[in-house]
Symmetry: C2
Subunit: 459 residues, 2 copies
């Protein structure tokens, strides 16, 4: 036999069980987004490279998958260009399109392109794959889904509050206990201003972001290397070591940043969001002010969020924040936005690791009719039609092969009930129903079988 | 302002309303597939070009979107290769991966790659986009979804019968009246043998496939041009003009092909499938034997299907058939398969053209709370949480802007009910609920609002 075919490295096939489990995650997120009035859009997998290039930094540009122009793509190219240009410049001549790298830039492009049709604020969600030519490794893929919700065109902190509620609701429905970390980029800017190094804000947030990984000493070393003075570093220490309740931390920070208006505004924003979500019915998961939370992406300008699973060791499983000028890159300035994104692959790992996938996320067929021959199968096809009218997912084994093989199929596919209808049952108008879990077998009318399975399905 | 950004030609953005309508089609198909025990898989957008090339004919190879190799893709290329090779050969050196062209070849690749994990028969469905570098034109896109279900590893005609039932069920649920055309490739081979030109089967089926478009004279001219004798053509005439019920047509064909065993087998197969689907409860749509049905793809070997909408002029909206050796191309011969595919874009056009999309496929938010200021909004956020716990999709307008703007938002988003909760309503614990369709306004308790909207949603 020929060598087995394969798929490109970093990509994945999803089996029926994996696909059903992934759909369970996607539909939980989708249901909650819709419950909060977000509306789904879809954008093409391919975008013009002019849309994508320069939006993700130099590293990001290198990770874009580029699509070779169709037809005689070399025609307009002088031979010497082919032979002498750098790969980057040559790629730009060979390719006009690329695969989307995330959902945020296509969303910004969508808002600008369709601005005349949109009613602001625009609350959209989008669940689609993205592609990155990253070096594949455990947990990092070249094709993966993002599940984003964003509101553009509203400065109100109600949006931030609702996004926190959405996070709380999604993980409650999935049964994952989480901590929602909140911070604000304006507080971080305030800190940078306080220590007299406002131009160092990027270095500081990137370094603070690594606190978990490299520890306070590592962060200190990194900041010194970036040119921060020892005196400035000294002032950072108490801020990184802050403890207590959210209210205590906010009060302490208010004193530290008393002379920095931007920093105080950040504190006000966090306080307002916490008041909105803790008011009234409250949340099932804790929201914690975490001043070490910085998030890598530098377009955030206000509140930022990150979600950690409490019972499973893994990186953040959701995150987001406020950005003030996303559509500016496409010529439409002044639109503020705030969004959240769920990491479906990591959520999958948490649910699998904690054994939290419900059985309903995996089972497909509820009833299989065994095939005893042409006449019996034709009869069973009618019974199956009656079951399906009751909403019961039903199969008739297509071939009259050995019973053992048919039962093996039922087991392999996780079918919970098998119906045996031979000549006797046909004559008597009955079904011999076998429970594949208990092994118990009963003789029932078709109606009784449908009633039993409909009840099981609604359990 | 800068020039509006755009998307690559032949691709599409889908607005919230379009996405909701498309999801209605996909979920209808998905529900029916699952009801018949098909299980969903997903495969990567990118496949190795070695998997894709040579599977769709020379024309198909040209329509594959190819992905430029990452990194220094020219390194291993001699400069003279770049300058002198044909575009096809150069593309093969620059690209190892391509975007999938359909779902059938990736499925065959999946079955062979995962054959040790699969329990046969394998009933899978797959709903994913495919990409073709076709010249864009009305109704033809470079990115579009396919919705395929296939059974591999079973020769039984029960599968064909169930696929016809699935087609009947899907279009019944969508409210589209259809005719299901059925034919069999073995009957067509029998005809070719009868007229003494078995090697002409491809030409004959391709020409017959065009009967609707170019008429009998056109087909005749095309077949003469392909080298068929005038005598052979003469024998084709009565077959193309066959009329009557399915039973009458089959009886007539049985006489015509009496000496051709392969042709008789095809007639037996069609007869068996018709008996299975017409038996018992029957179908809501007619199944018609149509000897002019040939379908373009030459890998079909048994029954073939095509579905036409009765009340809207458009090409076939679903189709499929039996193929005997799909996985042979990947080194696993002898596995028979049969499948069906729904054309989501055309189904969308039919539903839109006949105004058949249900309102539930479009409405998202059921209730919008008007924002009268910070205190009222915080109060409304609690009421909104109560509504959402009852499953009612609810929004709180995030900004305390002019009432007119908030009502315009409700109208633009098609929100059916608006809640006005000002200082008086807050004090009295009531909600003033406005029906946006009738303009009617009522003062109600929160409970009463939830009851009313839950009842509307379940209507």
């Amino acid at each position: 036999m020929a060598q087995k075919p394969a798929i490109p490295k970093g990509t994945r096939d999803f089996s029926p069980v994996e696909t059903a489990r992934r759909n369970y995650i996607f539909s939980t997120i989708r249901d909650v987004y819709a419950l909060y009035g977000f509306r789904q859009i879809e954008t093409p997998a391919m975008e013009n490279l002019s849309t994508l290039m320069g939006k993700y930094g130099e590293e990001g540009d290198k990770l874009l998958f580029k699509i070779l122009n169709s037809g005689d793509f070399t025609r307009s190219l002088p031979a010497e260009a082919l032979a002498s240009e750098s790969p980057q410049r040559l790629a730009a001549r060979l390719c006009e399109k690329g695969l989307r790298y995330d959902l945020t830039v296509p969303f910004a492009r969508y808002v600008v392109q369709h601005r005349d049709e949109l009613q602001l604020p625009f609350k959209r969600y989008q669940i689609q794959p993205v592609w990155r030519a990253d070096r594949p490794q455990k947990g990092r893929y070249r094709e993966f889904y993002q599940c984003d919700a964003d509101v553009v065109g509203s400065d109100s902190l109600l949006n931030e509050a609702e996004l926190v509620q959405i996070v709380d609701e999604v993980f409650s429905r999935l049964g994952i206990r989480v901590a929602v970390k909140i911070n604000n980029r304006k507080i971080l800017s305030g800190i940078a201003e306080l220590i007299g190094a406002p131009e160092k804000i990027v270095d500081i947030t990137v370094a603070i972001d690594k606190l978990d990984k490299i520890g306070p000493d590592g962060v200190q070393a990194e900041l010194l290397a970036s040119g921060l003075s020892a005196e400035a570093l000294e002032q950072l220490q108490p801020i990184l070591a802050l403890t207590g309740t959210n209210a205590e931390k906010l009060a302490a920070m208010r004193r530290v940043l008393a002379a920095i208006p931007a920093g105080l505004k950040g504190i006000d924003e966090v306080e307002a969001v916490l008041a909105l979500v803790e008011d009234g019915d409250g949340l099932r998961n804790a929201v914690e002010l975490d001043l070490t939370l910085a998030r890598g992406l530098n377009y955030y300008t206000g509140c930022i969020f990150e979600v950690k699973a409490l019972d499973f060791p893994i990186g953040s499983i959701a995150g987001g924040g406020r950005y003030d000028n996303l559509t500016g890159i496409f010529g439409l300035p002044g639109l503020s936005g705030v969004g959240i994104s769920f990491g479906a692959d990591r959520i999958y790992d948490v649910l699998a690791g904690l054994d939290l996938f419900p059985a309903s996320a995996e089972s497909a067929t509820q009833l299989l009719f065994i095939n005893f021959g042409a006449a019996e199968a034709a009869h069973c096809l009618r019974l199956a039609a009656a079951m399906r009218r009751r909403g019961i997912a039903t199969e008739v084994y297509p071939d009259a092969v050995k019973m053992k093989k048919q039962m093996a199929y039922a087991n392999a596919c996780g079918v919970p009930y098998v119906a045996l209808v031979g000549a006797d049952e046909m004559r008597d108008g009955l079904v011999s129903l076998k429970n594949m879990t208990t092994g118990e077998q009963q003789m029932l009318t078709t109606e009784a079988v449908a009633d039993l399975l409909a009840a099981v399905a609604n359990d």
